[in-house]
Symmetry: C2
Subunit: 430 residues, 2 copies
Amino acid sequence: MTVATEIDRDEALDIPTLMRGIGEAAKAAAAELSYASGATRDAALLAAAEALEDTVPAILDANAADMEFGRAKGLSAAMMDRLMLDAGRVGAIAGGLREVAAQPDPLGRVLAEWDQPNGLHFRKVATPLGVIGVIYESRPNVTADAGGLCLKSGNAAILRGGSESFHSSGAIHAALVAGLRAAGLPETAIQRVPTRDRAAVGEMLAMPGLIDVIVPRGGKGLVGRVQSDARVPVFAHLEGICHIYADAAADPEKARAVIVNAKTRRTGICGAAECLLFHRDFLAAHGAGVIGDLLDAGVEVRGDAGVQALDARVVAAGPEDWGREYLDMIVAAKVVADVDEAIAHIRTYGSSHTEAVLTEDDAVAERFFGRLDSAILLRNASTQFADGGEFGFGAEIGIATGKMHARGPVGAEQLTSFKYLVEGNGTLRP
Amino acid sequence: MTVATEIDRDEALDIPTLMRGIGEAAKAAAAELSYASGATRDAALLAAAEALEDTVPAILDANAADMEFGRAKGLSAAMMDRLMLDAGRVGAIAGGLREVAAQPDPLGRVLAEWDQPNGLHFRKVATPLGVIGVIYESRPNVTADAGGLCLKSGNAAILRGGSESFHSSGAIHAALVAGLRAAGLPETAIQRVPTRDRAAVGEMLAMPGLIDVIVPRGGKGLVGRVQSDARVPVFAHLEGICHIYADAAADPEKARAVIVNAKTRRTGICGAAECLLFHRDFLAAHGAGVIGDLLDAGVEVRGDAGVQALDARVVAAGPEDWGREYLDMIVAAKVVADVDEAIAHIRTYGSSHTEAVLTEDDAVAERFFGRLDSAILLRNASTQFADGGEFGFGAEIGIATGKMHARGPVGAEQLTSFKYLVEGNGTLRP
């Protein structure tokens, strides 16, 4: 395998025609998938898991080519780690597919059922969305995770991974196709864009008749571009500017532990806390302890005057620190007069992703829950729980902050639509 | 009141600035509405109903101005009838608001609730969508129906009615504002675009940060323009090309009655049947009776050769008759070999709105229900049941054929989103 021929623009390809063909094949496959049984879809997932394990050497060879490309391109150590596969990681990817297979079928669920006085019997039944386009960056496992979730929910997938993981994704995709083939499902149910040409992304965003929804997975640059350019709905979050409000009635021990966990457990995930809002009474009584914990853990604290007064190590926060996603060992912190000021701050600077209130006062918690409209609101728990697995959804295709259709961690259930099935007995409308 | 000054282009107005102001006011009102209690929202609806009844003379004066404008413009009798209000019709509009008020609160519903082993308690709770833009044509009652449903579901509304009903809508809107005021809600919770300038519609379609969803109500021209130009999600149906498949195992008496009802009860609604697909055995045994019923009822039947052979009055169908929405006393009809051919025809020519299967054979019904993906599928019942009221939803803001978020008759429940409320006890993510 050679990396010498990698190019960003592939002049030999007619990208619009290529993508239209992929879209049409996906639409046709989606129609078949929509009535394939849950057992058949699960069989394909299990066969894909097996194919992954059977082709570990080929996958690692492909990954070696990507790693060589990455080294030549000068990728950071963190990026290289995201890119890297070994037998253990491939096994984990296969395990993920088996977990998805073991979940209940999201299709055919009766979401509501009722009778009308004229004898009509109504059922609202879950159906697939159709064709899902997934645009992602360097992690090759997304190929299997996203493809598997789409298949579980009866949706055809068009996967466009980052150029860094091009070969790895290709090898993983081959295993997914083997799974589809083994189960007798159309191989085009999960397609991968077979070029690194960036024009393919633009085409995906502008295929409203062929792609029903786009899921971008990656940094703010990618998500922002998809959100602004897509002609179809997008399930995504641009940022996770997660706030924690420590109320006057917060339990200090719980608060210290939750705040440190929310900031430091992992700083690079969208559920990491980025801004702390302290009730002035809490700050006066317990602020020094909390801030000290964070500083001792190596966090840079950027505080307003009230927070700065607690510890000489606190840096002065500037206006740019409010509403900022650090994704790093840095946190903004400020004093507020009460829960309403915290709510007002979050409404102004939040990203509708995840916020937490720390309080033993039910009325305060109710106000925080009622007056904020983030996808996830927590009480006395770490914002790092913003994750489909932690919600019990199994795998997630991403976290959405929009209010249309999908919200919060998007698992297989949210990748469905519905139809109404109505049964009568020669029933006429008067 | 004068009609002499009506113009399509209002040069005196800065439409982008006007619409931005309306959008910003709506967004601010939506934030307040999102935590107003259900009792307050219902009080506003009831007060609006009362205000409508208290201002009947003013509403009828305004309507007289619209009728004069309509006559001068040469509107058809059908259009004039849609436009016309009298005390009875105003009373019915008020009654509609009271019915919406009497419905259960769509907000705050716990859509799901569960615990995780770590002690976290999860609730998925219904929330408003935000700001809903409604663009409609001549019926002035839509002002109250759409405004009322948005208010019931905690959403701010921006209403843009047709120019023919400009004054009537204004007078009805004034009653809605009186209701909001009486209940202490922001008067900008239901706004009306105060100009006939068509540029306002273009602005509404391009305000993604301020309008969350657009609902177009009207003919194909309006809906098509909104669907192609909107930068925000659209809940709509472009056409209702409803099919009925009469299977070999259809009960002939039920079939005759359902087909005549589905075509002739009202021809101008989106649930009216437009195309009949007859299993060849059904046609041979019972086709002459069904076709005779339709012809005797005054329906023009456009058939393929098999249908034409049954009755000399049947006209030959051309290729343009498949997939056509007549909204008139005309129906297309053809012979198919079996349910699969019917399904294939509907997949090619349908509009994903409503289709019916007439059969006593459960396996055929299951195949029809499973392999088609229209918003509404009926068995042995008239397609004219495609209506929110008939579903038991109370009022509907429209019928949607898309698969994203809302589908089928869109009542107050589908005008909601959700958020996750998670409660812990100092819970940390390991």
